[in-house]
């Protein structure tokens, strides 16, 4: 029982962070109807940025958030503006432009391998002031850094949800995701909205990167693991739904962590894929998705 609780909590904590990367992905999809295949690579960029910030400055790891998150926002904003926008414009009549998916995959190849060239293939870990510290909750132990990471991820997701619901910019983003043309007619500059949505999605990767670094290792293709997982989570939660992505992330985290108690880790991976395919077949709109998106 204790093992079960232990793995449940551990899965919940890491699931929140999976959820946050998926929130970024689902936000971009919601607005642009494009799966950002470079998402894992952007997470890798966020992790490396946090890694170098902490390593070089020696400051508290969570201070990295204030540098890395704006940096990643700008990175995503610029990438969308320079690379993705021209392709998107050429196919603006298509609801889900496949060429854009391919461009993001090209970016994935480029980012991962540039980072391989710059930093080499080795796994890197940075020692921080929270590394290895443990909370003891009546016999159930978990890493402090995982709890902080979970709370920060949760707060970020809630903030984004609030931002989209209530701020003026958020309303413009939602309007664009509902109907590009109508939003344009109402005076919304759709391409600026795409830049901002992409920037916000990338900033989520920045947050996730910062909170992962105190207890996770970073290497150039680290994004691939999170990429595939994020794809599964967004469909599970319903493409375009932020609460769905967060909940989906937690469900996947728990499945993986609890499952690992009872079987080999490679089998839990299989179970996650099978759950995913079953959901696609039975209820493709996911937990909270719109039925117009599948």
């Amino acid at each position: 029982m204790e093992n079960f609780l232990q793995s449940l909590i551990s899965g919940l904590l890491i699931g929140g962070i999976y959820g946050l990367t998926a929130v970024g992905l689902t936000l971009i999809f919601g607005v642009m109807k494009v799966i950002n295949f470079a998402h894992g690579s952007l997470l890798m960029v966020g992790m490396f940025a946090a890694y170098w910030f902490i390593k070089l400055s020696g400051l508290n790891p969570y201070l990295a958030l204030f540098v890395v998150v704006p940096l990643l926002f700008l990175f995503g904003y610029a990438m969308q503006h320079v690379v993705i926008r021209p392709v998107f414009k050429a196919e603006k009549d298509v609801r889900e432009p496949i060429t854009v998916i391919i461009v993001t995959t090209g970016i994935w190849y480029i980012l991962d391998n540039l980072s391989l060239m710059a930093f080499g293939a080795e796994y890197r870990v940075v020692h921080t002031s929270v590394s290895g510290k443990i909370f003891d909750m009546g016999g159930i132990y978990f890493l402090q850094s995982k709890l902080y990471g979970f709370l920060i991820a949760l707060a970020t997701a809630l903030f984004l949800y609030w931002f989209l619901k209530h701020s003026k910019m958020g309303k413009a983003i939602r309007a664009t995701s509902l109907d590009r043309e109508a939003a344009s007619l109402m005076g919304v500059n759709q391409y600026r909205i795409y830049n901002i949505a992409f920037g916000l999605g990338t900033a989520c990767c920045g947050v996730a990167g910062c909170v992962l670094i105190p207890f996770y290792y970073v290497y150039p293709t680290v994004g691939t693991i999170f990429d595939i997982r994020a794809f599964i989570i967004v469909v599970l939660g319903g493409l375009g739904s932020i609460p769905g992505a967060l909940l989906g992330g937690i469900l996947i985290g728990i499945t993986q962590s609890v499952g690992a108690q009872y079987m080999a880790a490679t089998w839990t991976e299989e179970i996650i894929y099978v759950i995913f395919l079953l959901i696609l077949f039975v209820k493709p709109s996911g937990l909270f998705g719109s039925r117009y998106d599948y």
């Binding site: 999809f29 109807k33 494009v34 799966i35 690379v83 021209p86 392709v87 050429a90 196919e91 609801r95 889900e96 496949i98 060429t99 854009v100 998916i101 391919i102 461009v103 995959t105 090209g106 970016i107 994935w108 190849y109 480029i110 991962d112 391998n113 540039l114 391989l116 060239m117 293939a121 150039p220 691939t224 595939i228 794809f231 599964i232 469909v235 493409l239 080999a264 490679t266 089998w267 991976e269 299989e270 894929y273 099978v274 995913f276 395919l277 696609l280 077949f281 493709p284 998106d293 599948y294």
Partner: protein, 352 residues
Amino acid sequence: MSSIARQSSKDKILLLAVLATAFVLPMVVTSPSTMQFLILLLFYAYLTSSWNLVGGFAGVLPLGHAAFVALGAYTSTLLYLQYGLSPWLGMLVGGVVAAVVGIIIGIPTLKMRGAYFALATIAFAEAIRVLIQNTSQVGPFNVNGPRGLLINLKGSSFAAYQFTSKASYYYIMLVLLLMVLGVTVLLMRSKLGYYLSAGGEEPEAAQALGVNVAKYKLLAMALSCFFTALAGTFYAQLMLYISPQNICGLNLSFEIAFIALIGGRGTILGPVLGALLLRPVNELTRVYLGGLLPGMHLVIFGLILVLVMIYQPRGIQEPLTRLYRRLTGGGDDQDHDQDQDTLPKAKEAVEL
């Protein structure tokens, strides 16, 4: 229709010249490593052309075709190792298995929108890979999990699908490639091609006109999976070793799809052109830059991908066709090119 049939004699001469070169090449090339490179070139051209049957014509983006390569390779190899069944027969069994699996996967997924279909195929391929890695024994078959399967060397034996000369493999792949291209031409010229093109571009409109889009997409999927699986058996016999990592990985799935897309999907020769261009670029950059800058060849691949999508979203076959028309002075107008190489638009299908 008439403009498709109206093929200028210059086109025929070029086609014959290319075919003749392809047939003569193994007699001229002596180095085994160059032959291996040429074989893999044809192998990729074959895979992208097989992918094109569904990826190019059914309006979806399959990103998990490596799973069908693996199904083909594992079916024929397991049957050969366990019962001594000739891989030639195993190849056909593998093709049928892949086609059936393709249909099972296709029924729920082919009606989904682009993103969902792409993600479903990725998840399916990964599920197959993890399944193979986790399985050591199924009934009488020793799948051997992540360690893969080794085919014992038999020397030159037609029945065992093993040859000491690289040329034999080359010709087998060339024939397979011509076969899948022939099927592509037939598909494009048949009613099925028009239906698919209509269904790919405007599924709702085609549905409204009474075209059973789902059925034709499934058929395209089954054909594509069948041919893809044949390549799996070929690969197993060429390398005499298969493992889930090298034959069912995401990398292979993505490479197949992206080479086809760079070449030009939904055209007869686009995927082949893509392979002819990208495989050498990949090989050369990997050989010459790989040692100095690991990963550089993939950065270049990524850059090509991004640049082609920005400047030639319909693939490199379009500017190449235009160039060819200008050189031969044959192309009187733009529409002519379009009719030659790309599918007629949905509205023509409706008129028919």
